[in-house]
């Protein structure tokens, strides 16, 4: 509202005029004795109260004569500035009236008249105190500023200056119903959504008068293709065969002279080359031959032998481990057979532990604290084996002579995912946390089983099966269906897990209510065999010297490889065992080349090599064959009989104090017998990867590693204290090419898994062929020795014969004997004399040491 004070030097006329421009006419409160008015410049000139000349902010007071004002009013009438104050001036009592320059416009105008004398005095009193300022003002006003002459620049300045405009007044009306309502104004902050359309630029571009243009020379020739009909012939394919000469022509050529010439020239050269090639291998790699390993040597072989990998103990008390086996297909699962620990052998069949369940426990590497699966057995299991063609079938030989079968196909998930939620199979089973138990699917008839504990059980390979007379025949089902068991009751029995044809009828008669409500779900796989399982046939072997029968403890037969296709077995081909039937013997083809001979280790330490085929003697009766040889190499029980996995005719037998290696076909004796050792050897097994290495376990818990190529006299490594107690069983297993394990159990329920170090699992170069040579030499040696023994025996006989035919020497009496002696002494003295004379030393000196 108030104009800038700095522009006072400007157009005071305009300013004052502007200040006269319509201002809000609301005269709000000014004291009664003050009358504001404005004076034009003309008036100011007349009265001498020009702004900034006579009257300034510092000295705003000007006394005006009343008469002058009245004069002005009369002369100028309405135009006079004082006209509104005419009455006031007339009323004014005194002569002089005060005019104050109101620079701040306190009362709305630039001047005001003071109407009452009292106010005048009051106000005038103030300038008396401000006299020094008046003096200053006088000094200032002495110097008059120059009059500003307008040269037109004020127009430019005005144009450039920023002035406040009068407020924009918008008049609008509202809707009738909003009348009287409070008004609310707000900013509109919506963005401008209006686009900016392009428009034609009406500026003209510079037209191009010149453009650059390129030219190319193009040949007039242009290539194009067209398809034509090929009327000529074209060879698509040729069928040819090599040219050949007829037989006569060949003969002619062979006999021709040119051929002779040719051979004459070529033969010496060729023979020379052949000979060179034969004697010397030009391309031997010496480093490779030294046995540098091809595999990465980043892993240093820290341990020379066996490292402990894991160890676990079966938590059940009062039991011993009798046998251990690795699960053939599931990695890291090991099965342990437990039997009752008895302080002394009880003769009676019934013992206290009949009510306790007997188990085979499965342990998985993932959780070794407790078993993952338990197989219940009718009696203590001494040995058991997984079926090679179906690892879910397990056959076990019990301590009471029975043979039992298990089928764990339903529970195999517990082994593959150990630790998973164990859902009890039976809803009535209240024991939720227990490990799952599987009852045996079938157990053999007690009367027809062995009479003593079954000490060895083995599956026959799926390549052949055996008839009732022991003839090996072709196995059409390509599965393992037969089992051999042996027992110290002097029999070996062959069992078939399939249903015999005749028993088909009797099954239907057996009612199903006989089976009580068991806690477990029994798989029906072998239901056909349960309680009626009889062996296919039995064999027992008479001792060679006729003094009895052998009591076999362990046996080993030659695995018949059969056809290549027999080995391939897939899960889809698996037939339900209950559907299989034993075929009649006539239908099957006899396999002639199956080796039906077995090695048996007996209780008394003999190793017997015999045939199991039942023979017909001259009367047409079938009887057990005589053994081919038997040697008492071991003096006590034979603990292990095992074939080498590399050579199918080499067998290792471990007796109590020594072990022996046999070769099939060598009737003269074992290839190699070890020295007697102090501790009992209780277990033995071949290494799975090295042909020359095998492990022997001892009574004191130590293990020997034998390497036949390194040292045949003693073990190459001895690991004492592998496990406490007696080693019962050693079983090797290969998990991967870098992890080979050996499971060792003792009789105190501890199982130790040892990792076989690299040196023990990688075969040395040509180990297999060297072993073969070694065995050949041993065979030759044995044969040679045998031959020589016979020769010596013959010679001895001849000598004895000679001695008998010679006349007997006359027996001399003691006196005659003495005479004879004296005579001999005399002869000796003479001899001595003659010699010494010859040497020139006679007479002989007294010292006996000086003689020659």
């Amino acid at each position: 509202m108030s104009p800038k004070k700095g522009k006072r030097s400007g157009s005071s006329k305009m300013k004052s005029k502007k200040s006269q421009s319509p201002t809000p006419q609301g005269k709000t409160g000014h004291p009664e004795d003050i009358f504001p008015l404005t004076l034009t410049s003309a008036t100011q000139n007349l009265f001498g109260c020009q702004i900034d000349e006579d009257v300034t902010a510092q000295s705003p007071y000007k006394l005006l004569k009343k008469d002058d004002i009245m004069q002005d009013i009369k002369t100028r009438a309405a135009v006079s500035d004082f006209s509104p104050a005419k009455q006031i001036v007339l009323d004014y009592p005194e002569e002089e009236i005060l005019l104050v320059f109101d620079s701040e416009f306190t009362f709305g105008q630039s001047f005001y008249l003071v109407l009452s004398p009292e106010a005048k005095n009051r106000i005038l009193k103030l300038p008396e105190t401000e006299t020094p300022e008046v003096l200053e003002n006088e000094v200032d006003t002495a110097r008059k500023p120059k009059q500003w002459v307008s040269l037109g620049s004020e127009k430019e300045i005005e144009e450039e200056s920023v002035k406040e405009r009068e407020p924009l007044v918008f008049t609008f009306s509202r809707k009738r119903r909003f009348f009287g309502l409070p008004v609310s104004f707000s900013d509109n902050i919506t963005p401008i959504s209006q686009g900016f359309p392009s428009y034609e630029d009406n500026r003209r571009f510079i037209p191009a008068m010149l453009t650059d243009c390129g030219t190319q020379a193009v040949p007039k020739v242009q290539s194009s293709t067209a398809q034509t009909n090929w009327l000529g012939k074209r060879n698509n394919s040729t069928h040819y065969e090599p040219r050949d000469l007829s037989e006569e022509e060949k003969e002619v050529i062979l006999q021709s002279d040119s051929m002779k010439e040719f051979l004459r020239g070529v033969t010496p050269r060729m023979l020379h080359a052949l000979q060179q090639e034969e004697i010397f291998n030009l391309f031997t790699d010496d480093l490779k031959d030294l046995g540098a390993d091809v595999e990465d040597d980043n892993e240093p072989d820290l341990s020379k032998g066996l490292e402990l990998f894991k160890t676990f103990t079966d938590p059940s008390k009062g039991k011993k481990i009798s046998s251990v086996n690795w699960h053939p297909s599931i990695n890291g699962v090991i099965a342990v057979a437990l039997k009752m620990q008895r302080e002394e052998e009880s003769d009676s069949e019934e013992d206290l532990s009949l009510t306790d369940p007997k188990f085979i426990a499965f342990y998985s590497f993932a959780d070794l604290s407790k078993p993952q699966l338990l197989l219940e057995c009718p009696a203590d299991v001494v040995v058991f084996e997984f079926c090679p063609s179906n690892p879910n079938i397990i056959v076990g030989g019990c301590a009471n002579g029975q043979v039992a079968l298990w089928d764990i196909s339903a529970e195999v998930t517990f082994l593959t995912q150990p630790g998973s939620e164990k859902v009890p199979a039976n809803p009535f089973d209240l024991r939720k946390e227990q490990t799952p138990e599987v009852l045996y699917s079938a157990a053999s008839e007690i009367e027809s089983s062995h009479k003593a504990a079954v000490t060895d059980v083995q599956w026959l390979p799926p390549t052949f099966e055996v008839t009732r007379t022991g003839l090996p025949v072709e196995n059409t089902s390509k599965l393992c269906v037969q089992v051999i068991t042996c027992s110290p009751d002097c029999t070996i029995m062959f069992w078939d897990v399939r249903l015999p044809k005749q028993a088909g009828l009797s099954l239907f008669q057996r009612p199903d209510q006989n089976t009580p409500m068991t806690r477990y779900i029994v798989p029906k796989t072998f239901k056909h065999l349960d309680r009626t399982w009889k062996p296919l046939f039995k064999v027992s072997f008479q001792k060679m010297d006729g003094s009895g029968v052998y009591a076999p403890l362990k046996l080993s037969f030659e695995p018949y490889p059969g056809n290549a296709e027999a080995g391939s077995w897939s899960a889809e081909d698996f037939l339900d065992y209950s559907q299989l039937r034993i075929p009649s013997a006539k239908e099957l083809k006899t396999l002639e080349d199956v080796n039906t001979k077995i090695f048996i280790g007996t209780e008394e330490g003999e190793v017997v090599y015999t045939d199991w085929k039942l023979e017909k003697d001259e009367f047409g009766l079938v009887h057990c064959p005589k053994p081919l040889f038997s040697f008492s190499t071991h003096d006590f029980m034979v603990y292990a009989v095992q074939r080498s996995p590399f050579f199918k005719d080499i067998v290792l037998t471990v007796g109590t104090w020594n072990f022996a290696i046999w070769k099939e076909g060598v009737m003269e004796g074992p290839l190699h017998v070890s020295k007697f050792s102090v501790e009992n050897c209780t277990a033995g097994c071949w290494s799975l990867t090295r042909p020359a290495v095998f492990f022997i376990g001892k009574d004191d818990g130590s293990m020997e590693v034998w390497d036949l190529l390194e040292n045949t006299n003693g073990p190459s490594q001895v690991h004492p204290g592998i496990i406490s107690g007696t080693i019962i069983c050693i079983k090797p297993w290969i998990v991967s090419s870098k992890q080979h394990f050996l499971a060792v159990t003792n009789d105190h329920r501890v199982v130790r898994i040892l990792e076989i170090s690299k040196s023990l699992r990688t075969p040395t170069s040509n180990e297999s062929s060297r072993m073969e040579e070694h065995f050949e030499w041993e065979t030759k040696y044995v044969k040679e020795f045998d031959r020589r023994k016979k020769v010596w025996a013959k010679e001895k006989e001849e000598q004895e014969l000679k001695k008998e035919t010679k006349p007997a020497k006359p027996v001399l009496t003691p006196a005659e004997q003495e005479e004879l002696d004296k005579k001999e002494y005399g002869e000796f003295l003479k001899l001595e004399e003659s010699i010494l004379k010859g040497l020139g030393l006679w007479p002989k000196p007294d010292h006996s040491d000086k003689k020659n």
Binding site: P242, R243, S258, M259, K260, G265, V266, A273, E277, E278
Partner: protein, 97 residues
Amino acid sequence: MKVDVEGTLKRIESYKGVIGTIVVNAEGIPIRSTLDNSTTVQYAGLLRHLAAMARSSVRDIDPQNDLTVLRIHSKKYEIMVAPENNYLLIVIQNPCE
């Protein structure tokens, strides 16, 4: 010197380590062989060119020189080719190991 063709060939064929022997004429037709027909034809056809090329290389380097025996030692066995008088004798031998 009387050369007994049969005897000589038998000697070579029964040498230690020899797997097979082939006698080939100038046109590459096998005259006599201890291997089966298809193998013989294959060997004869392939080795004929190789022997000719080897011979020409040797003679190119030194015209006075001539190829006596071409020996190809491979991983499994050794093949020896001896040219002479328009015929070719091929012997396959197992090297000593």
